[in-house]
């Protein structure tokens, strides 16, 4: 099984006609994702070619796209100035699962978008995230399909390419994945480590979880406490940013040590205190995962 989405998920793409949107939409369709429509305001009525043989309609609004196609998930590739509004539009149209890839959205915009999504009962993944991939089933976002394979590991990460690095090692070591989720590098994100852990706990196929965290905030500490109280499958962790100086943002808007809180040392300790084995190098993640599965 997979978490949140699977091969039956009906996906629309907001910003389908843009440079990034069109490229990644075709990548997703080629992987097997059921892309049913696109939305670009002002371009309704056109169609978008997923491949040489297949095309999908483009709508002016998400509400129209949902009404016509029964879509239940959306992937957002619109520029930062309009991305929060795109999330709110999807939430308002009743889309249950919204993936926002866009990086650089004003934080105050996101306070309002998250509030509306919560009111409407929608799950937002991201923003500033690579998305979610269920190997062999579907992908929503930009995680390359070539690096994943089906298997027993669930993976949750705040990062993009570091996730690929970890998945690459897992796949090469013969450890496939049920689902890989990139929750995003922003300070305000819609889906947390704990949300994903709870979903993996309910998935009978997930036999171990890998959590890739980084400096900034306390999400890893909360996740560690949740793991020790609720989860009976093994968890392996990694924290990026041990060498990051305090008070400086490390690329991701959320990756900043404020005062003495949010350090890699604090997060590593929280993991270890709660029985989570912590890899010292990215390559070690797969080694610890294999050990924890007794393989």
């Amino acid at each position: 099984m997979s978490i949140y989405v699977d091969e039956t998920t009906r996906v629309i793409v907001q910003g389908i006609t843009g440079r990034d949107g069109s490229f990644h939409t075709r990548q997703m369709a080629a992987y097997g994702t059921r892309v049913v429509a696109g939305v670009t305001p002002g371009k309704g009525g056109r169609s978008f070619a997923l491949s040489g043989k297949e095309e999908v309609p483009v709508y002016d609004t998400v509400a129209d796209a949902v009404a016509e196609t029964g879509a239940n998930a959306s992937v957002i590739y619109v520029p930062p100035a309009f991305a929060a509004s795109a999330i709110m539009e999807a939430a308002d149209a009743g889309v249950g699962f919204i993936v926002c890839v866009t990086e650089g959205i004003p934080v105050l915009d996101m306070t309002r978008a998250h509030a509306l999504a919560r009111d409407r009962g929608c799950r937002v993944l991201g923003p500033n995230c690579p998305g979610i991939i269920c190997p062999g089933k579907t992908t929503l976002g930009i995680i390359p399909g070539s690096i994943v394979t089906e298997g027993p590991v669930g993976l949750i990460s705040r990062s993009g390419t570091l996730t690929y690095e970890a998945v690459h090692h897992l796949t090469r070591d013969g450890l496939g994945q049920t689902t890989c989720v990139g929750i995003g590098g922003d300070p305000l994100i819609g889906t947390s480590f704990v949300d994903c852990l709870a979903a993996f706990a309910d998935d009978p196929d997930t036999e171990a979880v890998v959590m890739i965290g980084e400096i900034g905030g306390t999400a890893e500490q909360e996740a560690a406490a949740w793991v020790s109280a609720n989860l009976d499958i093994p968890v392996v962790g990694f924290i990026a940013g041990r060498t990051a100086p305090p008070g400086t943002r490390m690329g991701h808007a959320g990756a900043i040590i404020s005062g003495s809180s949010g350090t890699a040392a604090e997060k590593t300790r929280a993991f270890e205190d709660n029985g989570i084995k912590v890899a010292k190098r990215p390559a070690e993640i797969a080694v610890l995962a294999r050990e924890s599965l007794g393989r």
Partner: protein
């Protein structure tokens, strides 16, 4: 983006807040003139993006214009945490009866702005939070309603018991929230928020940070950036759209993705080396970005080796290889380059690099160990 105190005060005044007067000057004569204008008794404050200005000797009290000019002479040009003081703010002294604190930032957990006040102002608020957390009152603000009048009043009652003062404080909190939202701030702080012997409440220090993601739609705020407060490397990185943080080591790092970039620095340290920088070239393989990255890294004479760590996903390795080859052709790089490329089109990338006489390895551990060895 951090604002200077005098800029933050301007924003606060524009929002209608009671703020003590003050003007900036960049030479002792200017400071003397301002001090005379304010009647002689003034505070001269260094304007740099750093806390601890007072402890560093960057804040001085003067009883007359001559003394103010002497203080300015000492403060202007001094270094506070590596930053040279180019401007001072001159303000008349205030008759301080009490000192409180008020601040707003965005709460990650609550996903909303949180307004914090404390009657124990004038000191480091993190210290109050650590030693006497009950002295800090917090309120999560629903961004859709904003700070409601009863909420501002409620918090103000935590600061003052005299209704005349409470009323003024509530008005300041309301305007602080408005200034925070209207300027796209990530943090806005008044410390201290004072009451005077004459029964006035006002801000006498101000600190504001702007969310960098807001700057594209707020040109007036973006124009407040002080070019002197930014190193050449930082300015260049920002112009090229690169995330860059200078560190003290000698292994120059050039990586795609922030998480992988941090993990690369950590691995350099793990193998006994010292990273010279954090640098994320992002998802693009634009050769101009690679050139800018290499220029920034090689401008640091301490860098002994340049390490590329690229995990090609959507970014194709052959594009990055092309960028590296172009960049190396355009620049005269005297130090060794070690390259790791894995992922989409890595074979093709290796061929492109080989033609240019460059080699690449496939593993992150390998490339980092090699870089550390070459850095000595």
């Amino acid at each position: 983006m951090d604002l200077h105190e005098y800029q933050a005060k301007e924003l606060f005044r524009a929002a209608g807040m009671a703020v003590n007067p003050g003007e900036v000057a960049d030479d002792p004569q200017g400071v003397r003139a301002l001090a005379e204008e304010y009647g002689g008794r003034v505070v001269v404050k260094a304007q740099v993006h750093s806390g601890g200005r007072g402890k560093a000797g960057g804040v001085k009290l003067a009883t007359d214009a001559d003394e103010a000019a002497r203080h300015a002479e000492a403060i202007l040009g001094m270094k506070i945490r590596g930053l040279t003081v180019g401007h001072v703010l001159v303000s008349p002294t205030e008759d301080i009866a009490t000192e409180a604190y008020a601040g707003i930032l965005v709460d990650r957990e609550g996903q909303c702005p949180v307004l914090m006040v404390s009657a124990e102002g004038g000191v480091d608020i993190e210290e109050v939070a650590a030693t006497n957390p009950d002295a800090i009152h917090k309120l999560q603000v629903d961004p859709r309603y904003g700070l409601m009048p009863h909420q501002a009043w409620g918090l103000a009652t935590r600061l003052f018991s005299d209704p005349a003062l409470t009323k003024q404080a509530a008005r300041i909190l309301t305007r602080l929230y408005r200034a925070f939202v209207d300027n796209g701030a990530s943090m806005a702080e008044i410390n201290p928020l004072i009451s005077t012997g004459g029964g006035k409440v006002k801000a006498i220090d101000a600190k504001v940070s702007i969310d960098d993601n807001e700057l594209f739609r707020r040109p007036a705020v973006a124009a407040l950036r002080d070019p002197d407060s930014e190193s050449e490397a930082d300015a260049k990185a920002r112009a090229a759209g690169l995330s860059f943080v200078k560190l003290e080591g000698n292994v120059g790092c050039c990586v795609n993705g922030a998480g992988l970039a941090m993990a690369t620095m950590d691995l350099v340290k793990y193998y006994g080396g010292d990273p010279a920088n954090f640098l994320d070239i992002g998802g693009s393989s634009n050769p101009d970005k690679v050139v800018a990255a290499l220029e920034i890294i090689t401008a640091d004479a301490g860098v002994k080796v340049i390490l590329f760590n690229i995990f090609g996903g959507i970014t194709r390795c052959d594009d990055v290889a092309q960028g590296i080859v172009e960049a190396v052709g355009r620049l005269d790089i005297a130090i060794p380059l070690v390259i790791r490329l894995t992922g989409t089109n890595e074979e093709l990338a290796r061929e492109i690099l080989a033609e240019a006489g460059l080699a690449a390895v496939a593993s992150m551990d390998e490339v980092v160990q090699e870089a550390v060895r070459l850095a000595g």
